[in-house]
């Protein structure tokens, strides 16, 4: 009897104890957010309102369909990804996924989500949201621009849910840059988008005019208000999963406003007037003007990933009526002709006049911004008209007494260079090349056309002779440029979408690029990619010109500002930015 009572009391007491502790324990499991600690950055103060300008209006807040840069910039502040590329170190780091394992054959990636995370509307995150998101991106009927990046070796990656916090991704082939795949692939809230998806109206969801209550994400900020044509304001996400070194939940800023300006000049004017705090991608000339202003700081981050180049039309399918182009292609196909042109171009002049010295001359599409991948053994021959002339002579070209260059058949060498009229730098480069080639006796006509007309000629009709364009941006990894290197690629500009490689060296590049795609060891990949660059320099399908430096500016009082070479240059660490002058130092 006694024992039964005491047992009962023990049980009751235990029950009472558990009951009283249970909420705390339960609360602990929901409150245990595994958060990122940020090292090396100053601990900031809460409060403040940052204003950033956007050079065109964002079109949508829908991560599945968004195309243009401005939309993506705003979306980046509102969404989170599984594995993130740190824009500063250019390496991957855990984000929503805290750890992951790779299977021995390199084909399966098992990612473990952090526990206890919530979307910006408070709804918890789990693997079902991840599965849902990837299904959206991979849906063939949605035609998301994100889909192609998730296709490796012609097969889309497979997604499988193991449990509430574990997902397995499957690849068709081992892929060295697999971790980089996940960057900027926003995880979407199933509870908000599933209905739209099933009704087939996903593309119209999350337009700019949507009410903030319908949009939720895992980024540092969430939508507050949108004024058409004027600005979009984001406010702090109270459920954000990152903290600083001291455990304070980020972000520090109360709000970020994106102001829409209509041109680069208007952008500089507003920055000068103090209306905006940060300015992104300045031109070299504007940077010089801003440097005189004591209250702002201009940063020169060095060469970007963008490469400007001159190239010739080597397409086998040219319009039937353009006999002129077909005739001139005989010159363009001659390797020595292209090498001579490359030698005659004054890259230093371009750097000095077009970019005020804030650019780097290039000879391959791999810029010095890719510190690991650039092949430093590639020669950089200085400008030499004599060498150019020797090359042309050995290729069968001659000169008339007054200096005009003639080809083997005796016709004068002249061609037109197409360029986009709206880009003054490239038009300037083309004009300078025109003057350079005049010294070789070649008559060049610069044809600035409207941008879409240029694209139409280069991609659709192939009705052009030579053009000056720029590519790049993306990522340092070579796989981001596959469509340029592969002869079947859609960005293989000089000869687009070949069914078979047109030349032996293009076939070799194809093989090398395919090989490095599946190679996992970095030094083996580098060796292969170095060889690709060497072949490129020998055959010069693109005559690379310069890579402009990244120039950004900020008001002096923006703290923790660490602009980086990868996009988005200034706001990649928006959660760490703070304004010491404004706001309180307490918690929000």
């Amino acid at each position: 009897m006694k024992i039964r009572v005491s047992r009962l009391v023990v049980v009751l007491l235990a029950g009472a104890y558990l009951y009283s502790c249970a909420p705390a324990m339960l609360a602990q499991t929901t409150k245990v957010e595994e958060e990122l600690f940020l090292s090396g950055n100053q601990v900031g103060r809460y409060g403040g309102h940052l204003v950033v300008s956007l050079r065109s209006e964002p079109k949508t807040l829908n991560p599945v369909t968004s195309l243009d840069g401005s939309s993506r910039e705003v979306i980046a502040q509102m969404t989170g990804d599984l594995i993130h590329i740190n824009r500063f170190t250019e390496d991957t780091e855990p984000a929503l996924a805290k750890t992951w394992q790779v299977s021995p054959d390199g084909l399966k990636y098992t990612l473990h989500l952090r526990h206890g995370l919530r979307f910006s509307d408070g709804h918890p995150l789990d693997a079902d949201d991840v599965l849902f998101s990837f299904n959206l991106y991979l849906d063939e009927n949605a035609h998301s621009p994100q889909r192609d990046a998730l296709i490796i070796a012609h097969k889309p990656i497979s997604v499988k849910r193991i449990d509430a916090y574990t997902i397995v991704f499957g690849l068709a082939r081992p892929y060295a840059a697999a971790e980089r795949l996940f960057d900027s692939v926003a995880i979407l809230p199933r509870h908000l988008l599933e209905r739209s998806y099933q009704e087939g109206s996903l593309a119209q969801a999350w337009g700019l005019a949507s009410s903030p209550a319908k949009i939720a994400g895992l980024g540092p900020f969430r939508l507050k208000e949108y004024l058409p044509g004027q600005r979009v304001t984001l406010e702090r996400n109270p459920y954000y999963w990152q903290t600083d070194r001291k455990g304070n939940r980020l972000p520090y800023l109360d709000e970020i406003t994106f102001l829409f300006v209509t041109s680069a000049d208007a952008e500089v004017i507003r920055f000068q007037a103090g209306d905006t705090d940060i300015i992104n991608r300045l031109s070299a000339a504007d940077a010089s003007v801003l440097e005189a202003n004591q209250s702002v700081h201009v940063y020169d981050l060095g060469p970007s990933l963008e490469y400007n180049f001159l190239f010739f039309n080597l397409n086998t399918t040219v319009p039937a009526q353009s006999t002129e182009i077909a005739r001139k292609q005989a010159w363009f196909r001659e390797v020595k002709f292209r090498q001579a042109i490359s030698l005659a171009i004054d890259r230093d002049g371009i750097t000095r006049l077009v970019y005020r010295g804030r650019a780097t001359p290039l000879w391959t599409p791999v810029t010095p911004a890719s510190k690991f991948w650039i092949d430093t053994a590639i020669p950089h021959p200085p400008r030499s008209l004599d060498q150019a002339r020797k090359l042309l002579q050995s290729a069968g070209f001659t000169w008339t007494p007054n200096g005009t260059l003639l080809d083997g058949a005796g016709s004068p060498v002249e061609f037109s260079i197409l360029t986009s009229a709206s880009n003054s730098q490239r038009t300037q480069m083309a004009t300078m090349i025109q003057a350079d080639l005049k010294q070789l006796g070649i008559r060049v006509q610069v044809v600035p056309l409207e941008f879409r007309a240029v694209l139409d000629r280069i991609f659709q009709t192939h009705d052009y002779e030579a053009a000056v364009l720029a590519l790049g941006g993306g990522d340092v990894d070579p796989n981001s440029q596959m469509n340029v290197w592969l002869s079947s690629g859609s960005d293989h500009l000089w000869n687009i979408g070949q069914p078979h490689p047109a030349t032996p060296w293009e076939a070799e590049i194809d093989q090398l690029m395919e090989k490095q795609l599946s190679t996992v060891k970095p030094d083996v990949r580098k060796h292969l990619y170095d060889r690709v660059q060497e072949i490129f320099v020998e055959n010069v399908p693109l005559i690379c010109l310069v890579s402009p430096n990244i120039l950004v500016g900020s008001k002096n009082q923006v703290a923790n500002f660490e602009p980086a070479i990868l996009d988005p240059h200034t706001l990649w660490n928006a959660q760490e930015l703070f304004l010491p002058g404004n706001g309180s130092s307490g918690r929000p």
Binding site: V289, R352, T431, M432, A453, D463
Partner: protein, 340 residues
């Protein structure tokens, strides 16, 4: 008496202007495409009438060498130790006078390595004064061509519409509205893209301006139609009609003169409008292509903020346009005064 003198002076000024533009090759010291990569955005060269020793050279002024300040891009200093005299009637770059005679005689110039930039240089180091003179050729031609087309078609259709009235008036006016409303920009894009790649950029531009001028008939037509409408009901016109004057006679003798004032006003307004339309066109990628200069694309380059702030001489071509347009305006006023 005064008016006659005034008009004569105006005509002479305009004549000189057109002559200057015509003979741009002779008056300009440099070729329009000649780039001096050492001297981009150089300010106008100072002309000295006295050398370092203090001797005055009135008839042969001096120009000193400009060198770049290595510390800062685009800032220059004058090296007064090395000065060169300006020569007149020199031999310089080749050009074609009136597009026919090849010669290399220029009104003035300096021996290299000195440079004489009367209006400074642009981003490529090209002489702005030479480009201004040559640019006038295409800009004035474009302005006059487009104005002629607009007014010509406008007068024709406007008088027909106002005089005849009825269904013709309705049809013409409705077509006019359609013409005003249509997005001609797309047609221009299409036209420009359709032209062969190796066409002369000035010719391409003239074609575009001709199109703009031709489709711009609607506004002058409407204004003229309004005047004709009320003009044909004037008593003396009705009287002339009763006396048996034919439609054409009435138009020529009585009605058209009433429209002169409007036509002249429109002409004076349209010429600068079309000349400056190129600034807008170059905004959209349809202006005169490089390296051909035109007043429009020289003005367009001033739109960039850093140019506006740092290089004041780039505004000189724009400021030089004011006396040009002023003379057109005054001429129109004088003609108007004579007509009434």
């Amino acid at each position: 008496m005064k008016a006659k003198h005034g008009m004569a002076i105006l005509l002479i000024f305009l004549g000189l202007l057109h002559l200057a533009v015509f003979a741009a090759g002779f008056l300009a010291p440099y070729d329009v495409a000649e780039q001096d990569r050492e001297l981009p955005f150089a300010p106008p060269t100072r002309i000295h009438f006295a050398d370092a020793q203090g001797t005055i050279h009135l008839l042969r002024p001096l120009v000193c060498l400009m060198a770049e300040n290595s510390a800062q891009f685009g800032s220059y200093y004058e090296d007064t130790r090395k000065c060169f005299p300006i020569h007149f009637l020199v031999h310089g770059p080749q050009y074609k006078l009136v597009g026919v005679f090849a010669t290399n005689l220029h009104l003035f110039g300096v021996d290299p390595p000195a440079r004489l930039f009367l209006m400074g240089t642009d981003a490529y180091g090209r002489d702005l004064f030479s480009r201004f003179l040559h640019g006038g050729q295409i800009s004035l031609a474009a302005g006059l061509l487009a104005t002629l087309l607009s007014l010509g078609i406008g007068i024709l259709l406007g008088t027909a519409s106002g005089f005849h009235g009825g269904w013709l008036d309705a049809v013409i006016m409705r077509f006019g509205e359609i013409f005003i409303a249509l997005p001609w920009l797309y047609l221009l894009f299409a036209l420009r893209a359709f032209l062969p790649l190796n066409i002369n950029p000035s010719q391409a531009f003239l074609l575009l301006i001709a199109v703009i001028g031709s489709v711009g008939w609607a506004r002058p037509a409407r204004l003229i139609r309004g005047v004709v409408l009320s003009g044909k009901e004037r008593h003396y016109v009705l009287a002339a009609r009763m006396f048996g004057g034919s439609g054409l006679y009435l138009m020529r003798r009585h009605i058209l003169p009433q429209t002169y004032s409007i036509i002249l006003t429109q002409a004076v307004l349209l010429i600068p409008q079309y000349v400056l339309a190129e600034v807008t066109l170059s905004f959209l990628g349809l202006g005169v292509g490089e390296p051909e200069p035109s007043w429009g694309n020289m003005l367009a380059s001033v739109q960039q903020y850093h140019v506006l702030v740092s290089y004041w001489w780039m505004l000189l071509p724009g400021i030089a346009l004011i006396p040009v347009f002023l003379s057109f305006v005054l001429l129109a006023n004088a003609l108007q005064a004579r007509a009434t």
